[in-house]
Symmetry: C3
Subunit: 268 residues, 3 copies
């Protein structure tokens, strides 16, 4: 790791969460077939307003209305890819931030080429696991299907390089999350391994990153706050869980219940 990571604080999270709760950003979600329901429930719990508009006939209009756009390539085929490209173009024309979640990039050529081509359209942020960030930065990411075979710590250099080459905030998540703009690196040491046994926690995080980026005065802090909120809610949910099944309900509750003032008290 070429940079020393700064621990992201609960005070910073409180500021960002307060902003999102006040603005209830409309998030245009183009994501994979598996996690749409969980992603929408996550955004609602956080305080955002999700909408999953995917038709080529509608995406450009809707991306222009939305406050942020998520592009998750977990389910990718030509029609959906064309819709994603139209949404990205419309978001960029409107000055709306969009987030790239490069699911399983490195493991499959079609999506790897598609994701790399999207980098030229300047995502505001990229969120992936170690294998995905290494592959997107041009290395051999590996990965086992959608799961990472590289730790987040081993991908920090790739994240820094990717942030510098694209201008995006890059979040590489795992046991520890690292969030960087290519210079500063924040770390989030929260969360729990049980979260890797629940489908969609990473994908939903990327949607929350989009929600926090909407009208964000400080994009690095916004992305780090999204990571910290999800990891903190995960820690709290594990305390009420007996396994991956009973994790989901208290996780969404925690996202809904965590209050900025409570975070400031914990920080004090």
């Amino acid at each position: 790791m070429t940079s020393t990571a700064i621990k992201f604080s609960f005070t910073q999270l409180a500021t960002e969460l307060e902003r999102v709760r006040t603005n209830t950003p409309l998030v245009h979600v183009l994501t994979n077939e598996v996690v749409q329901c969980f992603t929408a429930n996550t955004l609602l719990a956080v305080g955002a307003s999700p909408a999953m508009v995917v038709a080529q006939e509608e995406v450009a209009d809707f991306a222009a209305l939305a406050d942020a756009v998520l592009i998750n390539i977990g389910t990718l085929y030509p029609e959906r890819l064309a819709a994603m490209q139209a949404a990205i173009a419309s978001a960029n024309a409107a000055g709306t931030p969009w987030v790239l979640d490069p699911v399983a990039v490195g493991a499959l050529r079609y999506r790897t080429e598609a994701a790399k081509a999207m980098l030229a359209s300047r995502p505001a942020a990229i969120r992936g696991n170690g294998s995905e960030i290494i592959a997107l930065a041009g290395g051999l990411g590996g990965g086992k299907g959608v799961d990472s075979t590289a730790s987040s710590a081993s991908a920090v250099d790739a994240a820094l390089a990717l942030a510098r080459s694209t201008g995006a905030i890059v979040a590489v998540t795992g046991a520890i999350d690292y969030i960087t703009d290519g210079e500063t690196v924040y770390s989030v040491e929260l969360g729990h391994p049980l979260m890797t046994k629940v489908v969609g926690t990473g994908c939903a995080l990327s949607a929350v990153v989009a929600a926090f980026l909407a009208d964000a005065p400080d994009r690095l802090q916004a992305v780090a706050a999204a990571c910290a909120l999800m990891a903190l809610a995960g820690e709290r949910a594990v305390e009420c869980s007996d396994g991956p099944g009973t994790f989901v309900a208290p996780f969404l509750d925690a996202l809904h219940i965590i209050h900025p003032n409570q975070l400031r008290q914990v920080a004090a």
Copy 2:
């Protein structure tokens, strides 16, 4: 509001629920990508039999076999729209009632035109939020993505006009639900705001409306009963919930457990 609403009674709900539980109607569901699983679980909990058949190669055959059809346009693109039109034509040919859920109509032109064109095919019922019903009736509905910016009460006149012009039972749902055939207006004052933080409660309600319309002797009462059952189950679930995450499981349990005799006792 040009009509005085009549409060829908638990005795009426008991009669309708008993009928659905006895018949276990087969409901052909064409709905959006986000809520399919929750919708299917809702129909099973109520006592219906759901099937999500969407291929153009199969929809006409299946709509003719089904006892009711739901058309929810939340995910709309040309292939899915063509499948929906084929299902509607087949349902009409078989005398099978079909329900229209005009998700986000008013906010996006493609789906607004598609939904308005469907009205000529005479849905048995239309279920939407205030913004959607106002937009479908020809007004400026507004709406923020899939969420309503108009109260249900402000949409009752639009619901009456829409019922009269289409011949459908129209349900406009929100803090209070209003159900009308263009003359009589029933109201359902149940439910809880937490339900708006859970994805798919409205979409699933539209599927339950379809289940109740199957072989219904009184369509107005059938649609009102569907609204009342879902809102009542929601109230009960909130009592066992700490937030939107822990809401879903007891909500489905309540739908499964609520018994006509229990409703008659509450009413007595």
Copy 3:
């Protein structure tokens, strides 16, 4: 029934589960739109690694990487069917076992013909309800949408015939599950009727069958173990449930928590 069924033992299940937990097989899932999230969570809870890759541009590459493939035809249309055929061809070329779940075969002609054509590509296993197995074996299966109108016991002869004609292990599931290679028949007398009120328990079972077939030394025992594990977890979940809503979370927990040594103690 032309064969006497042998009760599958917890000792056998322990052996199979230990193998799956050690290998964490990568399961390539092509399934219907309704159950993808629940299926993925089920595979993670069991100890496998799911990936839902569906694009024609990617399925052949991914099926060759995977340890097993599931083909569930619940949502079938030409593009998805072509992707399934490509995945099957790639799995066969790589010597990777693939599982067929013939959802609603018998009720609809398009999928019935598609499923029957797939039999020539020699699935390692077929998992269906009574109506589906009878229809696939060439009889009149009936079925009400996706639900069976035939008991599993009434379909054992069809299962034996289907196993003999295709070379697949055939599992016909219901109140009792029967699993056969065309000679031996195992029975699993576990589970609970409440599982029929929860969407996707059958579809998820088929995915678990695929996980257990990965590198299995004894395919008959592997398929029976998958059925036994799911039914046992269902029984345990029902003890913690008030209805179909509260069933899902403890079901996934039970799949995650059940340990081979615990099974050996129960068996002793």
